[in-house]
């Protein structure tokens, strides 16, 4: 419960704070929910599908100018990461430069109704940090090399290769300019923590309304027990690992003797 409350607090304190002035209530508002707001990592966990669905609430008739678009983002907990660059020295490949990124989400997916660059204008993107490079740039910290750009590009490229950063054009469907639904696939190699969902209502390249909801991803059962033990009682955990190894070694030797006797 405390975690959940904290998540809401963090979620509400993040980039939305960039909005200035007391906003007038937008003419169109998002009402949304998630098919699940917690994901359990069990031993046989191999990813999870989350449906993010909702409706547009209006006081006025549907505007007829530009079609309505919806963007949904899901981001994982931010962790520090170091990006290193190799160069050839004395004939072998050696790490030479590095950039420490103080915190980058370990998972980030953007789902849209239509290609992102066609529905969102760049100013709004940098304000709300929606596209992958914008979202990552927000997290980049101080560096020791002159040109950071290749390093942050490499971070995005490497994570995209592992399907951890993703742009899903057309993964959001809108019906009757009112109901929307996004299917987001969370990969199997998730880490534990609070994931944030953001929904943006976009019309004419501008963000009309936003909506946030947290998803709690946590280990359960044996996974949780082992993880907690390893972190909180490392000595007991270490001895347990050794005991298992010794027991297996003894068992193998005993079984082998049995086989030999026959």
């Amino acid at each position: 419960m405390i975690l959940r409350a904290l998540a809401l607090l963090i979620a509400s304190a993040l980039p939305l704070a960039a909005q200035d002035g007391p906003p007038a209530p937008p003419p169109e508002r998002i009402v949304a929910d998630l098919s699940r707001d917690d994901v359990d990592i069990t031993t046989s966990f191999d990813g999870s599908d989350i449906i993010i669905y909702g409706a547009i609430k209006r006081e006025t008739p549907i505007p007829t100018t530009e079609p309505l678009d919806v963007i949904v983002t899901v981001e994982g907990p931010a962790r520090p990461v170091t990006v290193r660059h190799k160069e050839r020295r004395f004939g072998i490949w050696v790490n030479t430069g590095k950039v420490g990124v103080a915190s980058a989400p370990n998972f980030y997916v953007v789902a849209t109704t239509r290609p992102l660059e066609r529905i969102l204008n760049p100013d709004e993107d940098s304000r709300y940090r929606i596209s992958v490079p914008q979202a990552i740039r927000a997290f980049a910290g101080a560096s020791e090399v002159e040109d950071v750009v290749p390093y942050t590009e490499a971070l995005v490229r490497l994570r995209e290769d592992h399907d951890l950063y993703r742009l899903d054009d057309g993964a959001v469907t809108v019906a009757e300019q009112t109901l929307f639904r996004a299917d987001v696939r969370l990969p199997a190699n998730l880490i534990e923590g609070l994931y944030g969902t953001r929904i943006f209502l976009v019309r004419d390249g501008k963000v009309m309304d936003t909506f946030r909801a947290p998803i709690e991803v946590r280990k359960v059962g044996l996974e949780r027990w082992l993880y907690r033990l390893a972190l909180e009682q490392p000595f007991i955990y270490g001895f347990m690992s050794l005991a298992i190894a010794v027991a297996a070694g003894w068992g193998a030797s005993a079984a082998f003797r049995q086989l030999q006797r026959r």
Binding site: I41, T82, R88, N95, L222, A245, G249
Partner: protein, 307 residues
């Protein structure tokens, strides 16, 4: 069957891990080596984070070497005094190795140093073994049984002070070179995530002049304790031991080792050593290629901000 590893936080196929453990167990049953030098690079290859591969590899070595040492205890081929002195040196070396490992990690050069260590040591030992076993095979074809290698009875290691009687080995030598061998293997073990048997065994035979019949048992005895210490240190200082991963590897390893031992009894010793030498050289060649060929991506990610 996919399985989520709680500490590594990655999903892997359980059968792949059991199979991997099995192949390495087969090698260790066949050749009498711990297999750490194979399992750690193989874990890197299937996407286990390096720090976890090194620590969990050490845990797996405990199981395989303990199983081996029990067999040698039955045959009374363990020199306990020698084992304890080697272990004392090993603990110092291993502690120093872990400090060195952390320092290199901060500099970002740990992968390079580990790979260079592997290439140099595997290359040297593989080449030596291949040469020796080819010669032995050649000799045995020419004229009956092979003469045992003559031990260097009065080398430099016998003139140093602090002499200790190692009864099971039939040696009366200084403890200093024994401690030095233990410490050197400890450093390399901590750096490379291996038990160090493949370095320890030749050092015991050629440097200390121990009789071959007690070498394997004594080496396994000290490796069991040394890798237990390394595992515990990794578990406490960096929480990098994944017990789920270790159990899957051990299950495979235990079964593989039994098959390996049965298979080993059917092959000739010289042929076995040629196979092991070729295997060692193959691993060495693969790692050397990685150093010299241009990597697929010049950039790489490491969790955490260092230095």
């Amino acid at each position: 069957m996919q399985i989520y590893l709680p500490i590594a936080e990655v999903v892997v196929n359980a059968f792949t891990l059991v199979g991997l453990g099995g192949v390495v167990g087969l090698m260790s049953g066949l050749f009498g080596v711990g297999g750490g030098f194979l399992i750690t690079p193989l874990l890197f290859f299937i996407g286990i984070p390096p720090a976890i591969a090194v620590a969990t590899g050490a845990n797996q070595v405990v199981a395989s070497s303990f199983s081996g040492v029990l067999a040698h205890l039955k045959r009374k081929t363990v020199d306990f005094r020698m084992g304890w002195v080697l272990l004392a040196g090993g603990l110092v070396g291993s502690s120093f190795g872990v400090i060195l490992f952390n320092k290199l990690q901060r500099l970002g050069q740990v992968d390079l140093v580990v790979q260079l260590c592997y290439v140099v040591f595997l290359g040297l030992i593989g080449a030596m073994m291949l040469q020796e076993s080819l010669r032995a095979l050649h000799r045995s074809r020419k004229s009956g049984p092979i003469k045992p290698m003559r031990r260097n009875q009065h080398g430099w290691v016998h003139r140093w002070p602090l002499k200790v009687k190692f009864r099971a080995s039939g040696l009366y030598i200084s403890a200093i070179p024994v401690l030095m061998v233990g410490a050197a293997v400890g450093v390399l073990g901590a750096l490379m995530g291996v038990g160090g048997g493949f370095i320890m065994v030749p050092a015991m035979i050629y440097l200390l002049g121990m009789p071959t019949k007690v070498v394997i048992g004594t080496s396994l005895f000290q490796i069991t304790f040394l890798s237990a210490y390394t595992t515990l240190m990794h578990a406490v200082s960096s929480n990098t031991v994944d017990v789920m991963l270790a159990v899957l590897l051990i299950v495979g390893g235990v079964v593989g080792a039994q098959f390996g031992t049965t298979l080993g009894a059917k092959l000739r010793a010289e042929q076995l050593r040629i196979l092991l030498a070729l295997l060692v050289l193959a691993v060495c060649g693969k790692l050397a290629l990685d150093l010299f060929l241009k990597p697929d991506d010049l950039y790489s990610l490491t969790p955490g901000v260092v230095g």
